[in-house]
Every structure is written in structure tokens, then in C-alpha cells.
């Protein structure tokens, strides 16, 4: 299954649904349930659940199905075999990570499957202009940042992972807070994120990766609801000089929908200082309802990638020219802001 890099199971299911046409409604429903269970199953598999009994059941199921199904994925058994192979590699530590700690296999098989239902069913993300990310070579995706929690970054990663025709992987640059928090830092590194600093960004870009950055940082993430879709200052424009140094095109990206997931009414500075956080959000539900208040609102999202802005036509010393940097930063910022306005005008409602 060479084309199965993007969610092998899901792909399989879709293709089958297409080929089978109308089969028993009960079976279709069953498959749907299976798909949702997939995310939890991935984690269960790591915990080395009792496999033998479960593995035998699919064998029989596959034999029964084999007659009437074309089975492009090779049936249940093939899937089980692939699952076991994955499990074997995990328990014996026989997998590879890159210098940044990016665990490609874990990201593709587990982390993306966990995020996908949120992406597809909860926020119903619509992706436009994905072809603006080049099929090969480095690119710097610059996006707006909003939503109190950085869910927009994760959704952006799923969007590139699932929709790019050349199977590109987005490597996000994250704030240092991410790498201070236990568990979060571990998952972030394994998902291919790294610290937003010039060294790491340059290293990733020079090895030809697609790098995602949200230059607004905490200013964008933790801005009050009243200022939604107003882009904040783009840091000091460091992303532009990094792109200039490596000659990577800048792909502006506008994300609509993330602003409304946690309408931030206030910011408790005292709590933020106590917890050592850049801000402490107060929404209509958080912290009043506790963890339940942290459930985001199911808004409808649109992610639009804009035309790439080339940076390879400049002289090498251009990266140290502050005027050029400010101009390019403004150009990227304006592009994202205008696209945001355009998308907002087209949007029918926040939730649909």
C-alpha cells in the first residue's frame, strides 16, 4: 500500500465505501464506529493490550468478507499484521527520530489520528490553496495565531499532513513555554515541533522542510475577544530574515474560526503571574466550569494558504537590511490580514 501514507485505514474505508456502493446499512454504521474508535485504539495498542483473542476474530471476519470485497488493503488480516508490525517496532524501540526528536511514525499513525476527528468532525476545517506550499524544497508558512490555546497550529499541521498532494509534513515552531511543560514538551517534540528560534528554523529550512511559524506569538493567542481577527505585531520580523538567509519562499496563511473557540472576555493577570503563564484566560465557561469549561466551541474553520512570496532573489546581505525586513514583514502581514477580511465576508456563520 504505497499510497497509504495518509491515514491508511481511513483512506481504505473511503475507497471501500465508494466501490461497494450501497451495502447493508448496519455494516456501514459499524465501520463508522470503527473509524472513531481508531484514535483510542492507537493508544491502547501501545499499552500492549491482550491481542490474541482480538486478533483471531478479525481472521474469521476477513474470511467471511474476502468473497464479496475487493479488499484493496488486503483485508483485516493485513491490517492486523501491519498493526502488529507497528506494535513490534514500538515495544522494541526499533524506530527512528531525527535530531529534533521528530517521531514520524508516531505522528503519522497515532498523533494525527487523534487530532483528525477534531479536525474533520468538530471544526470541519476547510482548506484552500494548499498547492501554494511547494511540493519540494523548503518553505516558511506564516499564519495568524488565535484561540487562547494553540489549537490552530495543530489543525494547520493536520491540514498540511492530510491534504498536501506531495505528502509534505509541517514542522511547527513553538514558544519556549511548550518545552517547559511536562508531557506537552514530549508530545511537541515527537510531533516535530521545535523551539521558535533562528537556529532551529534555519536548520529545518536548510534541510528542505516546510516550517510553520506564528509570529504573533502570545500576543495573538491571548488577545481579548473584542480584538478578534486584528493581527498583532509580527514580533521583530525574525522569520523574514531566516527565510531570506535560506532563500525559502514565505507562504502566508490565514486561519478563520480559531478566534471564536474560546471567546476570551478577560485576563486574570494575578493568576497568570502566580502560574508563570503569559496570560490566564477568563471566558464565559472557564474557569467557572473547571475542565468542562476548557471544551472549545465547535466553530467552522477555514484555512487559506496564499501565494508564496519568493525570497531567493535578494543578495545575501539582504537578511541584515532592516528596511527590507520591515517591508517584507508588512507585506506578509497585510496579505494575511486582507485574506482574513475576505474570508470573514464570505463566512455565513461562525458555526456553519
Amino acid at each position: 500500500m504505497a499510497d497509504a501514507k495518509v491515514i491508511p485505514f481511513d483512506e481504505d474505508g473511503r475507497r471501500r465505501r465508494a466501490t461497494e456502493g450501497a451495502q447493508g446499512a448496519g455494516r456501514a454504521a459499524g465501520r463508522g464506529r470503527d473509524r472513531d474508535a481508531g484514535t483510542g485504539g492507537a493508544q491502547a495498542a501501545r499499552a500492549a493490550a491482550p491481542v490474541p483473542e482480538q486478533a483471531r476474530a478479525p481472521v474469521e471476519a476477513a474470511e467471511a468478507d474476502a468473497a464479496d470485497e475487493p479488499a484493496p488493503g488486503g483485508g483485516w488480516e493485513a491490517k492486523a499484521a501491519r498493526g502488529l508490525a507497528f506494535l513490534r517496532r514500538r515495544v522494541t524501540g526499533d524506530y527512528e527520530v531525527d535530531d529534533f526528536g521528530y517521531d514520524a511514525e508516531l505522528t503519522d499513525q497515532v498523533l494525527m489520528s487523534v487530532l483528525r476527528p477534531v479536525y474533520e468532525s468538530y471544526f470541519r476545517v476547510e482548506v484552500k490553496g494548499i498547492e501554494n506550499i511547494p511540493s519540494d524544497g523548503a518553505a516558511l508558512v506564516v499564519a495568524n495565531h488565535s484561540g487562547t490555546l494553540p489549537l490552530d497550529g495543530l489543525m494547520l499541521q493536520v491540514a498540511v499532513h492530510d491534504h498536501h498532494p506531495a505528502d509534505r509534513r509541517l514542522r511547527l515552531l513553538a514558544a519556549d513555554l511548550v518545552f517547559m511543560l511536562p508531557l506537552v514538551n514530549e508530545l511537541a517534540r515527537k510531533a516535530g515541533h521545535t523551539l521558535a528560534c533562528a537556529e532551529d528554523a534555519q536548520r529545518l529550512l536548510s534541510s528542505g522542510e516546510v516550517v510553520g511559524v506564528m509570529p504573533e506569538g502570545f500576543k495573538g493567542l491571548g488577545k481579548p475577544f473584542a480584538e478578534r481577527y486584528k493581527l498583532q505585531r509580527f514580533g521583530r520580523g525574525g522569520f523574514v530574515s531566516t527565510a531570506l538567509r535560506t532563500g525559502a519562499p514565505i507562504v502566508p496563511c490565514s486561519i478563520v474560526g480559531a478566534e471564536e473557540i474560546y471567546p476570551m472576555l478577560g485576563n486574570s493577570r494575578t493568576m497568570a503571574r502566580l502560574l508563570g503563564l503569559p496570560y490566564f484566560p477568563v471566558t464565559a465557561t472557564f474557569p467557572w466550569l473547571g475542565p468542562l469549561g476548557a471544551v472549545p466551541l465547535p466553530t467552522k474553520w477555514t484555512i487559506q494558504f496564499g501565494e508564496p512570496i519568493p525570497t531567493d532573489g535578494y543578495a545575501p546581505e539582504a537578511a541584515d537590511d532592516p528596511m527590507l525586513m520591515f517591508n517584507l514583514t508588512d507585506q506578509v502581514r497585510e496579505t494575511i490580514q486582507h485574506t482574513l477580511y475576505k474570508l470573514l465576508v464570505q463566512r455565513r456563520s461562525v458555526f456553519f
Partner: protein, 361 residues
């Protein structure tokens, strides 16, 4: 007229191995090993001089033996004997280096100085870039322990290089040393039956095999080959990166995730009974990990390690007992289940894998 090489820290295993290796070089005439105690291992034809590098006698040794190459390997994180104190280690590291460099400055025949350092100089903090370059300034300088010693040692070495520009000075920053015979803090840690880890952190680690360490020290102590330079600072590490969880699984060692404060207390408790060295910088390494760039080692020094990080760990693991959860047992259990399936089962291939049976069971 061949070279005369003086090696400090010859009583350590790595020092002993280097002494034995370097005397086989054709252009090396004599090798002098120096340490405070007589080594338990063989030094071959090398002379052993029992001297404390913290004392000025070291400069007499340098002049008496007409030494022209000094390989300073007596920079360690752990005491030589289990009962040695941290204070003595720090003194040997810092005062010893100062005395040795003072002696070198007075010895006109010294032409080459090689110092064994550690990538601990970079510290380890969440604000640091993921990969350290030789020039990366550390965001949080190590506040104590071995890492701070190394920072100070390198400072004195830089000072010496300024005062004696005619001496070629090489600083080799080694990643965590591993191997079947050498004792290192990382090796001691991996030898524990159960590995305490920091809850919520999975550090990236890099290892260098002891054979490669000896080889690169030898390379640096010689006249550089054409097109390469040995003067300067170099990171020395095997290719690739392993996560601590991966190392534990490959060595068959179960892990016990502990809260950060608990591991600090537990570490000092373990240390006081002499079980292992759980120094604060070891804990920091096991929290945030450390990865270095080795392009300078390859391009400028012209050294290519034989062992990758994974191979160094595997070679170390072969000399170790099997552990409580040997990976072979896991693999066997999974293989037995897979054997019941009537489907191709390739676990080492490039095939994207997923777990089907849990969804459909």
C-alpha cells in the same frame, strides 16, 4: 626524533585505552601516563608517573621528559574510587587543569594540547535551540557540578591558547560516552535494573562509542592530515539521536517515571549509598536532553565515527545483562500473534503501519 606524549588521567579506563593505543603509533617515541593512583590495567610500554596534577610537580614532569604533546583527559564528572568526594573531583578538574596549563606554558617543547571536554558545557534548558553548534551560547550557564567545571576548564584552556599561540590547542567536547568496557555516568545509569525517568519528559540523547573516543583523541594528538585542522573546539558524537524511552526499550529496561523533585531526592539517596551518580546535571540531561551538531568534526577535524548513536548503545547493551523486559521477548510475543494471521507481516519495512485489530476486534 619521535613524539613524547603525556596523558593525564591514565588510571581511568579510557585513559588506559588511549595510552595503549597511542604507543602503537609509529611516530610516537614515548608515552607517559600520569595519575594520582597506579592504574589497575596494563599500560604496555608506557611509563607511568605517579603525580598529582593539582601539584606543581607536574611541570617538572613535563620538562624532565621533554614532552611535546599533552593529552589532558583528567576531566571527569565522577570520582575514580567510589568513596572519592565531589570536592576532590572538582579540584582535579579545575585546579589540576590550571596547574597543567601553567606547566605547559613553562615547557617550551610543548607543541600540542588536546583537552577532553564534554557537551555538558552547553547546559540543557528548554529555551535552548534543539541542536547545539560549537558557537551556540548557552541560555542558562550550568550553575554547578561537572558542567560548571567543564565551562571553567575550557575558559582556562582558551586563556592558555591566547598566551601560547605556538601551541595547537584542541578541545573535544564528547557526548555521553558508552561502550562495553568504559565506565561513564550514562553507562552506570543504564546498568540500573529499572531506570528512573522524569515524568513527562523524553530527552534526546547522543552517544559516542569508546573506540571512537580513543580514535578521535589519537587523531587530535597527531599532526593533522592534509586539508584538516585539529586546532579548535569540536563536538564529538555518533550520528543520530535516540530518545531515552527508546534506549530503555532497546536495553530491555523498564522505566519508572518520577516527578522531578522526587528524582532529585531519590538521586541523592542513591548517591549516598554509592549506587550511582545522579548528579543535578545528569538529571537535567535526563529532563531536557542534549543534541549537538557534528559537522565541524567531520569537515574540519576530518573524523568520521565508526559507531552511530544507536550502534554505540547496541554495543554497550551486548556487554550488559538482558534486563527485565528484553526486547526479544516482546518481539517474540508479537511475532507469535502475527504468525496466526494469514497475511504478510513485515515489521522492518517501510510500510506505513497501523493497528487494525483493536478497531475491529
Amino acid at each position: 626524533m619521535g613524539k613524547v606524549v603525556l596523558v593525564t588521567g591514565a588510571a581511568r579506563q579510557l585513559g588506559g585505552r588511549f595510552v595503549r593505543r597511542v604507543q602503537r603509533d609509529p611516530d610516537v617515541d614515548r608515552v607517559i601516563g600520569v595519575d594520582v593512583v597506579r592504574p589497575v590495567h596494563e599500560l604496555g610500554d608506557a611509563e607511568f608517573v605517579r603525580a598529582d596534577i593539582r601539584q606543581p610537580t607536574i611541570s617538572k614532569v613535563l620538562v624532565e621528559h621533554d614532552v611535546d604533546t599533552v593529552v589532558h583527559m583528567d576531566v571527569h564528572g565522577t570520582p575514580l574510587s567510589p568513596r572519592g568526594s565531589r570536592t576532590a573531583v572538582k579540584e582535579t578538574n579545575v585546579i589540576g587543569t590550571m596547574q597543567l596549563l601553567g606547566g605547559c606554558q613553562k615547557a617550551p617543547r610543548v607543541r600540542r594540547l588536546v583537552v577532553k571536554s564534554s557537551i555538558g558545557v552547553y547546559g540543557s534548558a528548554p529555551r535552548d535551540p534543539a541542536v547545539f553548534d560549537e558557537n551556540t551560547p548557552s541560555k542558562a550557564l550550568p550553575s554547578g557540578g561537572f558542567a560548571k567545571d567543564v565551562v571553567e576548564v575550557e575558559g582556562y584552556v582558551r586563556g592558555f591558547a591566547r598566551r601560547r599561540p605556538d601551541v595547537s590547542v584542541t578541545v573535544l567536547r564528547f557526548a555521553q560516552l558508552l561502550g562495553p568496557t568504559v565506565d561513564s555516568p550514562m553507562g552506570d545509569y543504564f546498568s540500573l535494573p529499572v531506570l528512573p525517568t522524569v515524568l513527562g519528559y523524553d530527552p534526546r540523547l547522543q552517544f559516542v562509542h569508546e573506540d571512537d573516543a580513543v580514535e578521535v583523541l589519537r587523531l587530535a594528538s597527531r599532526e593533522p592530515a592534509r586539508g584538516t585542522f585539529s586546532a579548535g573546539t569540536f563536538n564529538i558524537a555518533g550520528d543520530g539521536v535516540l530518545l531515552l524511552s527508546q534506549c530503555a526499550r532497546r536495553l530491555g529496561r523498564p522505566t519508572v517515571p518520577m516527578l522531578l523533585p522526587a528524582i532529585r531526592w531519590g538521586g541523592s539517596a542513591l548517591r549516598s549509598v554509592g549506587l550511582t551518580d545522579f548528579s543535578p546535571e545528569q538529571v537535567r540531561l535526563l529532563t531536557h536532553g542534549r543534541v549537538v551538531r557534528t559537522a565541524r568534526m567531520r569537515d574540519v577535524l576530518g573524523f568520521a565515527p565508526r559507531f552511530t548513536t544507536a550502534e554505540a548503545l547496541a554495543d554497550f547493551g551486548r556487554a550488559l545483562d538482558a534486563g527485565l523486559l528484553p526486547p526479544e521477548r516482546w518481539a517474540g510475543a508479537v511475532d507469535r500473534v502475527a504468525a496466526r494471521l494469514d497475511a504478510p507481516y513485515e515489521y522492518a519495512g517501510e510500510h506505513p503501519a497501523e493497528e487494525g485489530q483493536h478497531r475491529h476486534g
